[in-house]
Amino acid sequence: MKSEEIKLIDSNGKRLDGRGPLDLRKIKIEAGVLHRADGSCYLEWGGNKILVAVYGPREAIPKHIQDQVKALVNARYNMASFSVEDRKRPGPDRRSREISKVISEALERVILTEQFPRTTIDVNIEVLDAEAGTRCAGLTAAGVALADAGIPMTDIPVACAAGKIDGQVVLDLGKEEDNYGDADLPVAIAPRTDEIILLQMDGHLTIEEFDKALDLAIKGCHIISKLQRKALLDRYQSLIEGGDIE
């Protein structure tokens, strides 16, 4: 994270991709895109393309991993080997295992796991094309896929990052901003209550900047939350029109 010579905000306050400081990248969300999964979501966020499938609740196997009082939430964040500039070896690396862990923990907060003891709810997050902010994009898509699967939740979780570039707090860092910016703050919330369920920070922020960035990230979450709900509504309507639901 160095701001070196690269100018990330121009004299008109525009960022490299033309966005203003408070603008999100373009986001497109579609629910129910897979045949086999119990719930699914396809999400594009800037250059990110994410596919999520939810399976479950289903019996946890082997038995000794079962929790007698609640469902296990098992998110698996995986990058396709062709999703990044330099080919990634298939299989989990340390970064993806950490992301899987923090996303699993965040999702567990909103899922009513006590309703399904001894089961597992598997949330498979595939990053097909990656460009800064995949963990927020993945968690956001997971929220939609869980709702599409009919998993009971207290809220639909949503994530967005804020950050600092060229000394200024901005929303939703893009690729160069992530590489050369001063700080990145991915945040996930339960939007009804603004409870914070995921939070990480790298870089350098004063307390004042942190407060500003946190507020901004939460604001971003609320915008995206509306897109999630719209995608689910569209899905519901297409099911009604298709006659799958009366």
């Binding site: 897979l34 045949h35 086999r36 999964a37 250059g47 393309k49 596919l51 999520v52 499938a53 399976y55 289903r58 698996r76 995986n78 396709a80 080997s81 062709f82 999703s83 990044v84 500039e85 330099d86 080919r87 298939p90 299989g91 989990p92 598997d122 498979n124 595939e126 097909l128 094309d129 990656a130 460009e131």
Partner: protein, 260 residues
């Protein structure tokens, strides 16, 4: 076999005796095939193939590396397949299992033995540096017939691939040099009936599987029999014939999708 599959089996067999399939197709008929080329921006080439509900995405990445000692002037091809748990409740995370390995190897041989890629044009410095091609098959939704979907997605992805010479300071990007590809067609046998392009329900009760790759002249370029059932000589000949016919149609769809 638990009770539900056994009922499904009976149902499919009864249908077959009446000359019918569960989704209304004829025995030698394919489901609808869609090819969306070039959809992954980070990849050098890519294609999403849908055969009915089955979806397979292949991405191509390229790198510069050392050739094999016994072929110092040819590029290197590496094919992998991941049956990620996204695609089916029965796929598990972890290193590739037998099914994924067989899938990758059959696709690999289809490309390699038919010399689809002009690997001899991918030498940068003899014995030192050649282009390495990674064909990564990502199964997204599994409703049967992965062999054909993976093979078709891989061919389509190769045909969209640009060699990223510029990124490696090796001149201008150029399209991957390719020859006419063979097209794979798969059939399965159950209850003495042979059907092309099995859907998942049919695969689940299949006794034997046969994949035949044919070229545009109708010659055979690769075959792979699978599962624990057997074929008679006549059944094999019948499958070959159907594969040649279906191969022609699929070749048209492939060519159209890549603007050829």
């Amino acid at each position: 076999m638990t009770i539900i599959p056994s009922i499904k089996r009976d149902y499919l067999c009864r249908l077959a005796e009446q000359g019918k399939r569960i989704d209304g197709r004829k025995f030698d008929e394919y489901r609808k095939i869609e090819i969306k080329p070039n959809i992954i921006s980070k990849a050098e080439g890519s294609a999403l193939v849908k055969i009915g509900n089955t979806q397979v995405l292949t991405g191509i990445k390229m790198d510069v590396g050392e050739p094999y000692p016994d072929s110092p002037e040819t590029g290197v091809l590496t094919t992998g397949a991941e049956l990620v748990p996204l695609a089916s409740p029965d796929f598990e995370a972890g290193p590739p299992q037998e099914d994924a390995i067989e899938l990758a190897r059959v696709v690999d041989r289809g490309v390699r033995e038919s010399e689809v890629i002009e690997l001899e044009k991918l030498c940068i410095e003899p014995g030192e540096k050649v282009w390495i091609i990674f064909v990564d098959i990502h199964v997204l939704d599994y409703d049967g017939n992965l062999f054909d979907a993976a093979s078709l997605a891989s061919l389509a992805a190769l045909f969209t691939t640009k060699v990223p010479a510029k990124r490696f300071d090796l001149g201008e990007d150029f399209p991957l040099p390719l020859r006419e590809p063979p097209v794979s067609c798969t059939s399965v046998k159950f209850n003495n009936v042979v059907v092309a392009d099995p859907c998942l329900d049919e695969e689940e009760i299949a006794e034997a599987r046969l994949t035949v790759a044919t070229d545009k002249n109708g010659d055979i370029r690769a075959m792979q029999k699978g599962l624990s059932g057997s074929f008679t000589k006549d059944e094999i000949k019948k499958v070959i014939k159907a594969s040649i016919n279906n191969g022609k149609e699929i070749r048209k769809i492939l060519y159209k999708s890549i603007g050829k």
